[in-house]
Symmetry: C2
Subunit: 437 residues, 2 copies
């Protein structure tokens, strides 16, 4: 149970209340000083989707590497048919055909044409391709001729060597997220093994006597753990590998033991719960006790709502985050603080969600002495980006997280933002609803 | 080699040229008549990220299922401290404490308070929680008292039963894509097994004598296969399971054999290449030959660029797509035609990419008798969505696909769209760049 403190033992909470709140940007910059790109590994092109490139990739080849026909037709000498019309067609003898993937041993010389397919190598001598539909075929004495019925321009329907990609060209930079387009490019240029950044291993530990697992029936006073599952999904969404360390009761020694194990095994560690000022907030105790003892505390309070007691420290050069146990606050803490860490570890140059502007669809009338991050839903319509405040937005609530595609920033000291005013929004990686009307 | 046709054997291509081009919307609606939602399966909540919900989920519980404290403080009777001030505090005897996860056996009766933590069950009798910071603690004769120094309102800092979720409430509908927020909600309501739609198994077959694999060195006239890798990534991105059937040379019998095997093993089948009018376009031959023989041809030409020879048919009630071998056209064909199929199979109600409007950053001066789909990059800045035309946009090119986050529709019959004019854009599932300035 971890009831370490009897009712009669007065607790000196002055140290906890006296925590110095740092600004969000300051918290972010302190964290970022301790983040480095992970090492590289090579994976098969079949399993690199959504991974991130670990080194600048340059093309060792050009593309096309041969003159290529853009369509099905005849390779000709353009100057022979530059004035061809249906009435005055150019007559050419067909001397060979080149299926895609083959090479003709013949040349196009005056008076001749060679049949080519989309993607065929253009035969020597030819400088244009005329499409089938602009020719007429004639068979005479066992020989095929064509009549070219439309004028032909130099170079038409031919992709030249290196037209698409030149040798030595930068293909993609460090941190590029690999999607279908990147995969097509890598495959076509021979990268069957792709250098990607190793996925950061992220430990996840939840604390709290009140927590039971998702599969357990409810008990009086208990709630099911949601943060461990949510954090694992957030980690995975940003390219990390989540490792769960279960739920530890509110007992500092047990929490400390688990943290020491986890921090050895992981690249960074997230602990949810126990960071506030309550009697059983074991993470707050842990940070106080460990300060200096092999741990460097970066901050234990941030001037923001929700999630002000969010904390971060360094143990063994590794980042340890103490996130709020309240799901709404835990979610926001992750997006603002852990996301940029995971992305930087994977080589992203600009890991912070770029803030943008949107017009408020609703009033948000509550002021706050600290910056406030409200879950919102952005919609683009009528050439305007607008944003709604989601209901059930309090830090203890999680039902609105599923509908959030941005955080709305309500600046400190303001009285909120009225409908119709512009707000700063931080997009989350969920699709923005776009309407064409 | 599959050189089935000698140079001297004239080919009757009239049937191919005479194909009837259907409009994109018509092609889409013909396809969609053959699509049904996949069956359902239950997966662990630990492996449901990005899957889609297969049945409407209703809550069997309410949340919170007990009156819950929103912070660390004292459960009191509000009417006893409704006028409390620092000068005239309300003095209460602390009779118990309730860590989160526990239940007090005591009640709050007049003159008493019970210490509670964030997430604690509110003791019987109490109707408000006052935060620690608004109280002063006093120890007298082995008994703890508090002075409440600020006025207390009825219900303050208490989340009531069902405040967040009521029993029977719809949690998420069919086709909902599961993200971290959905996972948090499912976990907290006891869904450790989640009903999701089975992932569609999508066969991928490439045809063409010119194709070699990504790991092979280049040979004269050959190119590396990119479409098989690209299509597999697109399939995976939209929730399908890609199964590759390799590359088959331009030999209709071999292609037909492989299709017959693949269509048995998969839910839908994508074939890339061989759909055009060339001599070696085996898929065109396949569709002609099989028409009626256990196959229903839906269309073999679409009034669009790129990808006009894109074809679709039904074999054994399963969809078979003949996509262009040109990577740019293959990509667009997938996004316009296959994507909605995959999403509908997974329960999405509105599977078509919602078109939107954006201001052209560049001229696109080429007209076309058919609707044209240009790869573009959308950016939101200064409260304006603008879209650039990507370079290297021809259907045979793939280098620009990696930068595309939308398709720009250039309507049929137009002379293109000038910079500054509005264009219709179809967003792709890649992040839109947002700038705050």
């Amino acid at each position: 149970m971890g009831r370490r403190k009897g009712l009669l033992r007065m607790i000196n909470r002055s140290q906890r209340f006296a925590r110095r709140a740092v600004k969000v940007e300051h918290a972010q910059s302190m964290i970022m000083q301790h983040v480095q790109q992970m090492d590289s590994e090579h994976v098969s092109i079949d399993s690199c989707l959504h991974r991130r490139i670990s080194e600048p990739l340059f093309s060792k080849e050009c593309m096309p590497h041969f003159r290529r026909s853009g369509l099905d037709g005849y390779a000709v000498l353009s100057e022979e048919a530059s004035f061809a019309t249906p009435q005055n067609p150019t007559r050419l003898k067909v001397v060979d055909e080149v299926p895609a993937g083959s090479i003709s041993s013949k040349q196009v010389v005056p008076g001749t044409a060679i049949r080519v397919m989309t993607g065929s190598a253009i035969p020597e001598g030819s400088n244009a391709v005329v499409m089938f539909e602009q020719t007429e075929e004639i068979q005479e004495d066992g020989q095929v001729f064509i009549h070219v019925k439309h004028k032909v321009a130099y170079g038409q329907n031919i992709a030249g060597v290196g037209d698409e990609i030149t040798t030595g060209q930068l293909l993609m930079g460090v941190g590029t997220r690999i999607g279908p387009g990147q995969i097509a490019l890598l495959a076509s240029l021979g990268f069957d093994k792709v250098p990607v950044v190793r996925r950061p291993v992220v430990g996840i530990l939840t604390t709290g006597n009140e927590l039971i697992a998702a599969g357990e029936p409810l008990l009086p006073g208990k709630i099911r753990n949601s943060n461990a599952y949510m954090l694992a999904a957030q980690v995975e969404q940003y390219g990390g590998l989540a490792v769960k360390y279960g739920t530890v009761p509110d007992d500092m020694d047990e929490v400390a033991r688990t943290i020491r194990t986890a921090i050895e095994e992981c690249d960074i560690l997230l602990v949810s719960g126990g960071v506030s000022v309550g009697d059983y907030d074991v993470m707050a105790d842990f940070f106080s006790t460990m300060k200096g003892n092999g741990m460097e505390l970066l901050f234990n309070k941030i001037a923001m709502r929700p999630g002000s007691p969010t904390s971060a420290a360094i143990i063994n050069k590794k980042l340890l985050f103490g996130l709020s146990g309240n799901p709404g606050a835990c979610f926001v803490g992750f997006e603002l603080l852990v996301r940029p860490v995971l992305l930087t570890m994977q080589g992203t140059v600009d890991p912070f969600n770029q803030a943008s502007k949107a017009v408020m669809a609703d009033d948000f009338g509550k002021g706050c002495p600290h910056d406030r991050y409200i879950r919102g839903h952005m919609t683009y319509s009528n050439q305007q980006m607008s944003v709604s405040v989601l209901n059930k937005n309090s830090s203890s609530m999680l039902v609105s997280i599923q509908h959030a595609n941005c955080l709305i920033l309500i600046p400190s000291g303001s009285k909120g933002i009225a409908a119709g005013q512009q707000a700063e929004v931080i997009p989350l990686p969920y699709e923005i609803t776009l309407y064409g009307k």
